[in-house]
C-alpha cells in the first residue's frame, strides 16, 4: 500500500511486470470499463423522465456527473489495459495452473477463512441469534479455524462478546439483535 521512497522521490522503477500482476490489472480494468458503460446507460435511463417532464435539462440532469465520471474512468482504464496486455497480461491466466496454485497460498487460505467466517457471521448469525451468542460463536470458530483453541481463547471470546454487548447495548443504548 505504501509507495517506496524511490517512487516518492520521483525516481524511475522498472521491475519486470509479473504475469499475474498484469492479468489482474487487465481483468480489473475490464470490469471498470463494463461498470462505466452500465453507469452511463443507467444514468441516461433515470435522467430521461426528468428531462421529458421539463424538471431538468441535458446540462443539469441527475445523470450528468455519473456520465462524465464514467467516461473519464473508461479513458483512464483503457491505457492500463493496453499497457498490461503488452506486458503479457492475459485473462487466460485465471484458468491456468499458476492461478490455481496461487489459491493454495497461505494468504489465500487466510482470506477464505476470514471472509467466510465474516460472511456467516454477518449473513446468518448476526440477524438470527442474540448478539452475545452470535459473536461468541463467530470468535470461537474463527480462532479455531486459525488454529487457536484453548481454554484461554474461550475465556477471551466470552469476555469480548460480553464486553461489546455491555458497551454498545447497555452504555450506548444501541439496539443490537436480540
Amino acid at each position: 500500500m505504501e509507495a517506496p521512497i524511490e517512487q516518492l522521490a520521483g525516481a524511475p522503477s522498472h521491475p519486470p511486470v509479473p504475469k499475474y500482476w498484469a492479468a489482474g490489472h487487465v481483468l480489473f480494468c475490464l470490469v471498470l470499463v463494463a461498470l462505466s458503460v452500465y453507469v452511463i446507460g443507467e444514468s441516461i435511463h433515470f435522467s430521461i423522465p426528468y428531462v421529458e417532464r421539463g424538471d431538468a435539462s441535458l446540462i443539469d440532469m441527475p445523470g450528468l456527473t455519473p456520465i462524465v465520471c464514467s467516461i473519464l474512468l473508461i479513458a483512464l482504464s483503457v491505457p492500463i489495459i493496453v499497457k498490461n496486455v503488452a506486458a503479457g497480461g492475459r485473462l487466460g491466466y485465471f484458468v491456468s495452473a499458476a492461478f490455481v496454485d496461487s489459491l493454495k497460498s497461505r494468504e489465500a487460505q487466510i482470506f477464505a477463512i476470514v471472509f467466510g467466517a465474516l460472511l456467516v457471521y454477518v449473513g446468518l448469525l448476526f440477524p438470527h441469534l442474540p448478539y452475545v451468542l452470535a459473536t461468541m460463536i463467530f470468535l470461537v470458530a474463527l480462532m479455531a479455524l486459525l488454529k487457536l483453541f484453548s481454554w484461554q481463547s474461550l475465556v477471551v471470546c466470552a469476555a469480548t462478546s460480553g464486553t461489546l454487548w455491555l458497551i454498545f447495548s447497555v452504555f450506548f443504548k444501541i439496539n443490537l439483535p436480540h
Binding site: A3, A11, S43, D55, C69, F111, V114, L142, K147
Partner: protein, 497 residues
C-alpha cells in the same frame, strides 16, 4: 481574528482540562499508541472503530478522544517499526529504516525516546501552523461560491491521485472516480432523483461512509496482520541514555524544516501522514549532514519521519475543517465523525460552530504532552502487547468492525455493505491501488456533483461560469500542476535512466 482564536483556544484548553476530558484524552492516546503499535491497525481504522462509541457523548468529548487517538497512533507505529522491523502503521514505514538497525545495536530505548520527542515536537509545530493558518484559510474559504467549490473538489482528487500513486497517477485517479461513483448512490440534492438505489430504502441516503471505511481498511488489515509473521527480537530495550534535549537542540532547524514539509504534505487533499513521513526521510537523506549514513541506524533517520507524520496531523485537519476537504484518510474519518455529531466541516464551520477549531487545537496541544508522558509509560508494556498472537487479536478486531458498521444506523444492511467494500478494498490493495483517493472521492462526490450542475444552471449551460473568479484560476493552476508535474517528472526520470 487570530487573537480571538487564541483567546478562545485558551478557554477550550481550560475546558479540556476537566477530569472527564483529560481522562478521555489519556484513554484515546493509550488506545492510539497500542493500536499504532500493532501491525496492520492504523489511524484510519482506529478512528473508524472508535467513532460509533462517541455517538452518545458530547461533541467536545468525542473530539478529545478521537484526536488523541489520531496523535497516539502516529507515535505507536514507530515502536513496532523499531522493535520488530514491521511498521505498526504506514506512516512509520520510513522509521524502521534506521530504527530497527538501532534496536539491533541495543539502542531501541534511545530510538523510541527520539521517536517520542520527534512525534511530540512534530505535533506541536503542526498545531502552531494549524492555529495560524486556520483563520486565514477560513477568510479565503468564506468567499467561495459554486465554481470554486467545484474546482476545489476536482483539485482534491487530482492532487490526491497524483500523490497516492506517484508511479502511476492514473491508478490514483481511477480510485478517485470510483469513490465519486459510490458517492452518487442515493437521492441527489437538486432534483431529488434516485440514483442507483434500485428501490432499496437503505440506499436512499447513500452508502454510509464509516461502514465503507470499516470494510475498506479493516478487512485488508485483518488479513494482512494474520498473514504477516512477526517475532519480537528485541525484548531488551537497552538503556535510554541519549541526551535527547541536546540532540534536539542541535537539530532544531531541521525539525522545523521537516515539520513545515509535514504540514504542507498533510494539507494536500487525501495525501496524509504516510507520504509526509517518506518525504521528510527523503529530505533528511539528501540534505542533512548525517544523511549519507542514514539507513545504517542514525537517530536522525528516526526523528525525521516521526516529525513529518505527526506535523502532518495539523496539516490534514486544516483543510478538512475550513474547506471540507480532508488532508488524509484519518482526517476523512474524523470528518465523518463530526458529521455524525451534526457538524458540517467547511467554510461555514468557524461561523456556525466557532468552538470546534479551538477545541481541536487545544486537543493537539494536550496531545503533544500526552505523547511524551503516555509514550514513556506504555513503551515497556507494549513489548508484551507485541507478543499477543494475531490469531487472538484479529478476530476481536473483526467483531469490532462488524459492530462498528452496524452501530452507525443500527442497520444490518450496513454490515453487508461493509463486507462488500471489504472485498473491494482487499482486491484493490492486492493491485496496489491506494485507498485514499477512493475515500476522498466519496467525500467530495456530492460537492463536485452539486456545484458542477448548479454552476451550469446559473449560467444557462455556459461553461464560462467556471472561469469567472480569480480564485477559480488559482485552483485551476494547482490542478494543472498536479496533472503536469508527475508527467514531467516521469519523462525526466526516463531521460536520465
Amino acid at each position: 481574528m487570530l487573537l480571538d482564536q487564541l483567546a478562545f483556544m485558551g478557554q477550550q484548553f481550560l475546558f479540556l482540562f476537566t477530569p472527564t476530558n483529560l481522562l478521555l484524552q489519556v484513554l484515546g492516546m493509550s488506545v492510539g499508541i497500542v493500536m499504532g503499535c500493532l501491525p496492520g491497525l492504523n489511524a484510519t481504522l482506529g478512528l473508524a472503530l472508535l467513532t460509533p462509541l462517541t455517538f452518545a457523548v458530547p461533541t467536545a468529548n468525542a473530539i478529545a478522544v478521537l484526536m488523541s487517538l489520531y496523535v497516539g497512533v502516529m507515535f505507536g507505529g514507530s515502536i513496532s517499526a523499531i522493535l520488530i522491523n514491521i511498521p505498526g502503521t504506514g506512516s512509520a514505514a520510513a522509521t524502521l529504516l534506521d530504527g530497527y538497525p538501532l534496536a539491533k545495536r541495543g539502542q531501541a530505548a534511545n530510538a523510541i525516546l527520539v521517536s517520542r520527542w520527534g512525534s511530540a515536537l512534530g505535533c506541536f509545530i503542526g498545531l502552531f501552523f494549524f492555529v495560524i493558518c486556520a483563520p486565514l484559510l477560513s477568510l479565503v474559504a468564506i468567499n467561495f461560491s459554486s465554481p470554486e467549490y467545484f474546482w476545489l473538489g476536482v483539485m482534491g482528487l487530482t492532487v490526491c491521485g497524483s500523490f497516492a500513486s506517484p508511479d502511476m497517477p492514473a491508478k490514483g485517479w481511477i480510485g478517485a472516480l470510483l469513490g465519486l461513483l459510490i458517492s452518487f448512490i442515493g437521492i441527489e440534492d437538486i432534483q431529488a432523483a434516485q440514483r442507483f438505489t434500485y428501490g432499496i430504502p437503505q440506499l436512499f441516503s447513500g452508502v454510509e461512509l464509516i461502514s465503507v471505511m470499516m470494510g475498506f481498511f479493516g478487512i485488508p488489515a485483518i488479513i494482512s496482520a494474520l498473514h504477516t509473521r512477526h517475532v519480537v527480537t528485541t525484548e531488551n530495550l537497552g538503556k535510554a541514555d541519549l541526551n535527547v534535549l541536546a540532540f534536539l537542540k542541535k537539530n532544531v532547524f531541521w525539525i522545523f524544516r521537516w515539520s513545515t514539509i509535514g504540514v504542507w504534505i498533510g494539507a494536500l487533499p487525501g495525501v496524509g501522514e504516510n507520504v509526509a513521513a517518506f518525504m521528510t526521510y527523503s529530505d533528511a537523506k539528501k540534505n542533512h549532514p548525517d544523511g549519507p549514513r542514514m539507513g545504517t541506524g542514525e537517530y536522525i533517520g528516526v526523528v525525521a519521519p516521526e516529525v513529518g507524520n505527526d506535523s502532518a496531523i495539523g496539516g490534514a485537519v486544516l483543510p478538512m475543517l475550513t474547506l471540507g476537504v480532508p488532508g488524509s484518510p484519518p482526517a476523512a474519518v474524523l470528518m465523518g465523525a463530526l458529521m455524525l455529531h451534526g457538524l458540517r466541516p467547511g467554510p461555514l464551520l468557524p461561523t456556525d460552530h466557532p468552538e470546534i477549531i479551538p477545541q481541536i487545537a487545544a486537543t493537539l496541544f494536550i496531545g503533544t504532552f500526552l505523547t511524551l508522558f503516555m509514550g514513556w509509560i506504555l513503551t515497556k508494556p507494549l513489548v508484551k502487547v507485541l507478543k499477543l498472537k494475531p490469531q487472538m487479536l484479529m478476530p476481536i478486531i473483526a467483531a469490532l468492525v462488524v459492530i462498528g458498521a452496524y452501530a452507525i444506523k443500527s442497520s444490518q444492511f450496513d454490515t453487508g455493505a461493509m463486507l462488500v467494500f471489504g472485498l473491494i478494498g482487499y482486491i484493490l490493495s492486492k493491485l496496489d491501488f491506494n485507498p485514499a483517493p477512493l475515500i476522498l472521492g466519496m467525500i467530495l462526490g456530492p460537492i463536485i456533483d452539486f456545484n458542477l450542475r448548479r454552476t451550469l444552471m446559473l449560467n444557462d449551460g455556459s461553461p464560462l461560469g467556471f472561469f469567472s473568479n480569480p480564485l477559480s484560476f488559482a485552483i485551476i493552476a494547482i490542478i494543472a500542476a498536479s496533472l503536469i508535474i508527475p508527467a514531467l517528472r516521469k519523462r525526466r526520470a526516463l531521460r536520465t535512466a
